[in-house]
């Protein structure tokens, strides 16, 4: 009786195993391996500040290295499954673009350059006045409300892309 039950259950197990194993092998063969998660960056509401002052970019008397500045803001949504990083940006409207962050330190506003901006998976990072922004240094032309800039942004994972940035008032 004991052996019969054991033998019976053994057979049951064997049938079970074969029954499960075959479909499992088949489905494994049919499926692609699960792809690694990627970042999916969507840029929303990008805008640039108008440049200020008459002929600020062409004041010949100021022979300093830099002239007028502007700032570009946007919201970076990471709708993918992997974190990404904003590394750099460039535009033909300025000699250089740097990532900066304005920070309040006991009533004193300090602006510091940031090497990068982390954009975690599933989150959105907002570049906004008084906070993170792209600083445009050495404007090559006047930025008037209604103008558009082409800004190329470099993302570590998602690569580089060009975004159209309208010039508007905040």
């Amino acid at each position: 009786m004991g052996s019969g039950a054991t033998a019976g259950s053994k057979r049951m197990k064997s049938i079970y195993a074969r029954g499960l194993l075959l479909p499992a092998l088949v489905s494994l063969a049919a499926c692609q391996p699960t792809p690694p998660p990627v970042s999916e960056i969507r840029v929303e509401d990008a805008w640039a500040r108008p440049s200020r002052g008459a002929s600020m970019t062409t004041e010949g008397s100021d022979s300093r290295a830099v002239t007028a500045t502007s700032a570009v803001y946007m919201v970076l949504h990471n709708e993918g499954g992997r974190g990404d990083t904003l590394l750099a940006a460039r535009t033909d409207a300025a000699r250089a673009v740097e990532i900066h962050e304005s920070r309040m330190d006991g009533g004193v506003m300090r602006m510091r350059r940031a090497d990068r901006v982390e954009i975690p998976a599933g989150e959105a990072v907002r570049l906004k006045p008084g906070g993170l922004h792209l600083m445009l240094v050495g404007l090559t032309r006047e930025l008037a409300v209604g103008d558009e800039l082409r800004v190329e942004i470099d993302l570590a994972d998602a690569g580089s892309r060009t975004i159209i940035v309208p010039v508007r008032e905040p």
Binding site: T69, M104, M109, M135, G138
Partner: protein, 201 residues
């Protein structure tokens, strides 16, 4: 005769003190103000700085409220944000804006010439005044108003940056500091606070 004079003087003094007490009690800090209201106002020194049109003295604006902001034209983010908010606030204020003078003092006199700071301020609103001076003059005015400013290292591209107090001062019609707005203030709050000041102060 002398005793009567002393008595009379004492009574008058007492009445004055009483009036002052009542006045202070009655004019409490109004609950609706967004800025920090200074009661009594803080006596602030006159200043003499330079705009594109020449010498500008604080006493030039007696009879009007002065919105005093310290910034620099090279600033890409904070200063334009503040000036744009003040511009919007002046629009909201409508005719009341005639009672207010916005003055931007440069904390970067080495780079901000009178022409530069004036045209910068005027680009936000033609009525805004931008002033600068020698580094010593600017430092003295900033110190008078408790404004911190210091150079910070930038990159070869940007040159130096300037850290500075981002608060905005409001001076009353006698040129004394009456209110302080923090950086986060909205245009609506600015307009509303100024309306109160114009009406009651």
């Amino acid at each position: 005769m002398k005793r009567l004079t002393i008595l009379a003087s004492a009574v008058v003094l007492l009445l004055i003190l009483l009036a002052a007490l009542v006045y202070t009690v009655v004019t409490n800090r109004p609950p609706e103000l967004a800025g920090t209201y200074l009661e009594p106002p803080v006596n602030a020194a006159d200043f003499e700085l330079t705009s594109v049109d020449g010498t500008v003295r604080k006493s030039d604006f007696r009879g009007r409220f002065v919105v005093l902001f310290f910034g620099y034209t090279f600033c890409p983010d904070v200063c334009p944000t503040t000036l744009a908010r003040l511009r919007t606030a002046m629009d909201l204020l409508g005719p009341g804006a005639g009672e207010v003078q916005v003055v931007m003092v440069s904390v970067d006199p080495e780079r901000d010439t009178p022409e530069r700071v004036s045209s910068y301020a005027q680009a936000f609103n033609p009525g805004f005044i931008g002033v600068t001076g020698t580094p010593e003059e600017v430092a003295a005015v900033a110190a008078d108003y408790g404004i911190f400013h210091a150079r910070a290292e930038g990159s070869p591209e940007t040159g130096y940056l300037v850290d500075h107090t981002a608060a905005v001062m409001v001076l009353d019609r006698d040129g004394n500091t009456r209110m302080i707005w923090s950086f986060e203030i909205t245009p609506e709050q600015v307009a509303s606070d100024l309306e109160y000041l114009i009406e009651h102060v």
